[in-house]
Amino acid sequence: MNECKCGNSKENLELKEILKKYEKDKSNLIQILNQVQEKYGYISTEAQKEISEYLGISMAEVYGVITFYSRFTLKPKGKYNIAVCLGTACFVKGSEKVLDKVKEILKIDVGQTTENGLFSIEATRCVGACGLAPVFTVNDEVYGKATPEMVESIIKRIREEENSVAEK
């Protein structure tokens, strides 16, 4: 994912596809960034450069917008992004304990990725499933009525699956 993207790599072409959908209007910046974030899980320096050229705005402005909005990230997330909801409804039901457990097991902090690139941790605010609070998600999968034991066993399962894939 991180190799050099000289000229017309696949990623570059895909980015051009995204850009083509939008008029060269400054007000489309956030819309474009959302698409890029969605597609790649982060916004690379190369992508920032492309976007700034396309919209005719400075790199600094693009960077300024990226860093302002919490949804945008400059680094890729782990293959499994564990996002614990810290919205009020989940907080009141003890989601901090779940988050503490994830941090303890993975030995990384919120916003970081494990060295092998397998896991990253995110703290989100309300994923809209407050009826199931506390809630965490692993990529797109939502887990409700969460407990520290529950994340522990899920992380264990993922590790086992990954190991058995690696062995094959």
């Binding site: 400054k26 007000s27 917008v65 919490s70 407050c130």
Partner: protein
């Protein structure tokens, strides 16, 4: 493209087909299985239930049963929810594999699947949704279509009087008359501040400008609130229709809805709704040959709470960092790209079609002297019936928490409720009988807010709660002005100090002083309201702060640094479970002898207390 006559045809025909949705005695052989497709139920696999139902219907060659995905029914705690109509049987906590019984027993044998019926708080088994205590005190206006129609099918919206209010405005009323109805209804903004909606419309209409805009604020930043998202997911056309009516009234032909990108289902359904409205010629140029044009676009937010503030939202739509602008000028005069712009909240809009169709008086008869109509709340936290509720203004908090919400689970006691999210305040037991309206909530140090309503039981520490909200505002402060950027950080540091057991009594005065300064000197509503959770907890739970400071204890037992785990020798049976689960080996003791915790080694993880089968360990 559909003419008005064609739309009316659709309305009549589809309304007749959908009679079974609202009429238990509908004369039909058809059945509709409604499955909740709100975010809550979707997260607990309602799409798989739908898949399974559809597959079974096909396999069994059943031809008179349709499966419909709806918006949120409200009682999310009992989701996924499935309702079979016309007989109106309500199934709760349905699992994908339960589709078998619903088809085999309910549909094929015409018998109720008893085990899937919902139990009310008093353990009575309930067959129909509205028999639940949860629904008895509710009145649905903004949520009227949620859970009734398929939000991805414009025909179903049209069938239940959809786009009739727009038709009335375009053919029977002039813009001033529309504004007068909205003003007379008494509707006030549901985004938090409660500004009279009619007045805002009239300011925007009077503003000079060749181009005007209508904007819908669907940023819904209050964490733990999901009213606006549910409206967009359950009845997106209500918002489109209302924005068009607003456009007609203020003289705008272009609308934007600013939605959080974190709301994928809402965004998708809203886009489908826009596309369908365009296809029918409801959105577009020269609508129904009246000369009125209206175009509508979605703009995605990207996770910044401050973008819910109206001028920050405008900055964000224009593609910049969402930092608030100085007011005045107000958006009504200088908004998007400097043009007059009307901004209203999702729920505010969702009330409009009903008001236009039923009249100002109908609406103003609901509610209190100063606050008319209903309010939607996202009820969450330590309460039994977590979900979405819509009640007439003037309903008391006690009714919401205990009658509708079913009270506090696990035999615990009510401690406080928070309205207004990070901008609001906590409300203690003594004020539970306060009627919900803008003024009453303000008078007790909280605010209406956008509708988040979080209940806390007696295991919650109010200092920790204040700290939680402050962490949120420190995170979300846009940094434009110093009182908010630096001041909230200082406050958070003091709160952290208190929670760590290092607080001093002067700290409380410092907090209060800082709070007042931040409120006075901040540029936008975020800073101006950020200290509220601290001020209100200080007001109602001062002893709890003092216990942290003077006695170095956290009475609720939440603040880790102050927790002291202790084994009660009279209750301990010496089973050794705690010892095995302690990560740092802080517990010692012989089998069948009372165990003890070494306070010096204990890291206060709480594992022992959770594991002890005899509840011998307290903190």
């Amino acid at each position: 493209m559909k003419s008005l006559e064609e739309i009316d045809e659709i309305r009549k025909k589809v309304r007749a087909d959908l009679d079974l949705r609202v009429n238990e005695n509908a004369n039909t052989q058809e059945k509709h299985i409604l499955v909740c497709g709100g975010t809550g139920c979707t997260s607990s696999k309602s799409p798989v239930i739908i898949e399974n139902l559809k597959r079974l219907i096909k396999e069994n060659n059943i031809t008179n049963v349709k499966v419909i995905q709806t918006g949120c029914f409200g009682l999310c705690a009992k989701g996924p929810i499935v309702i079979v109509r016309p007989e109106d049987v309500f199934y709760a906590l349905v699992k994908p594999e339960d589709a078998e019984d619903i088809i085999n027993i309910h549909i094929k044998e015409n018998k109720i699947v008893e085990r899937l019926l919902c139990k009310d708080i008093d353990e009575s088994v309930v067959k129909k949704l509205d028999e639940l205590n949860f629904y008895k005190k509710q009145e649905r206006i903004a949520l009227n279509n949620c859970g009734k129609i398929d939000p991805e099918n414009i025909d179903e919206y049209i069938a239940f009087d959809g786009y009739k209010a727009l038709e009335k405005c375009l053919f029977e009323l002039n813009p001033d008359e529309v504004i007068k109805i909205v003003s007379d209804s008494g509707l006030r903004g549901r985004g938090g501040a409660g500004f009279p909606t009619g007045k805002k419309w009239s300011f925007t209409k009077m503003a000079e400008g060749d181009q005007k805009y209508v904007v819908c604020n669907a940023d819904e930043g209050d964490p733990g609130a999901f009213m606006d998202r549910s409206i967009l997911e359950g009845t997106p056309h209500s918002v489109i229709e209302a924005m068009m009516i607003a456009g007609f009234a203020v003289g705008a032909n272009k609308g934007y809805i600013y939605v959080r990108a974190e709301y994928p289902i809402a965004v998708r359904r809203f886009q489908i709704a826009i596309d369908q409205a365009k296809e029918y010629g409801i959105l577009g140029k020269n609508i129904w040959n009246t000369g009125f044009d209206f175009d509508l676009e979605i703009r995605l937010g990207a996770g910044a709470f401050v973008c819910g503030e109206e001028t920050a939202l405008l900055e964000s739509i224009e593609g910049r960092r969402g930092q608030p602008r100085l007011k005045p000028p107000f958006p009504a005069n200088s908004g998007l790209w400097g043009k007059p712009t009307l901004i209203n909240n999702v729920e505010t809009y969702a009330n409009i079609p009903g008001i236009i169709l039923n009249g100002a008086e109908w609406y103003s008869n609901i509610g209190t002297e100063t606050s008319k109509g209903t309010k939607v709340f996202a009820l969450g936290g330590n309460v039994n019936n977590i979900g979405l509720v819509e009640v007439p203004m003037g309903t008391t908090l006690r009714e919401i928490v205990f009658d509708i919400g079913g009270g506090i689970p696990n035999g615990r006691k009510f401690k406080a409720a928070q309205t207004g999210g990070p901008s609001g305040g906590c409300i203690p037991e003594e004020h539970l009988d306060t009627p919900i309206d803008y003024e009453s909530l303000g008078a007790i140090g909280s605010m209406m807010g956008s509708g988040g309503l979080i209940v806390m039981d007696d295991s919650k520490c109010m200092v920790n709660l204040a700290k939680f909200y402050l962490e949120f505002t420190v995170d979300e402060s846009c940094g434009k002005c110093t009182p908010c950027r630096i001041g909230t950080k200082r406050m958070l540091e003091i709160l952290q100090k208190i929670c760590d057991g290092n607080g001093e009594e002067e700290d409380l005065e410092k907090l209060e002083k800082l709070a007042l300064n931040i409120k006075k000197a901040s540029l936008c509503g975020l800073g101006q309201t950020a200290p509220n959770p601290v001020l209100s907890t200080l007001k109602y739970f001062r002893e709890e702060y003092l216990a942290h400071i003077r006695n170095k204890t956290c009475p609720a037992g939440e603040c880790k640094a102050l927790a002291k785990y202790h084994i009660n020798p009279d209750l301990c049976k010496g089973c050794g479970l705690c010892k095995r689960n302690c990560p740092v080996g802080a517990i010692s003791g012989e089998v069948k002898q009372p165990h003890v915790i070494d306070e010096k080694k204990c890291i206060k993880c709480g594992a022992c207390a959770e594991k002890c089968p005899f509840k011998a360990i307290s903190k």
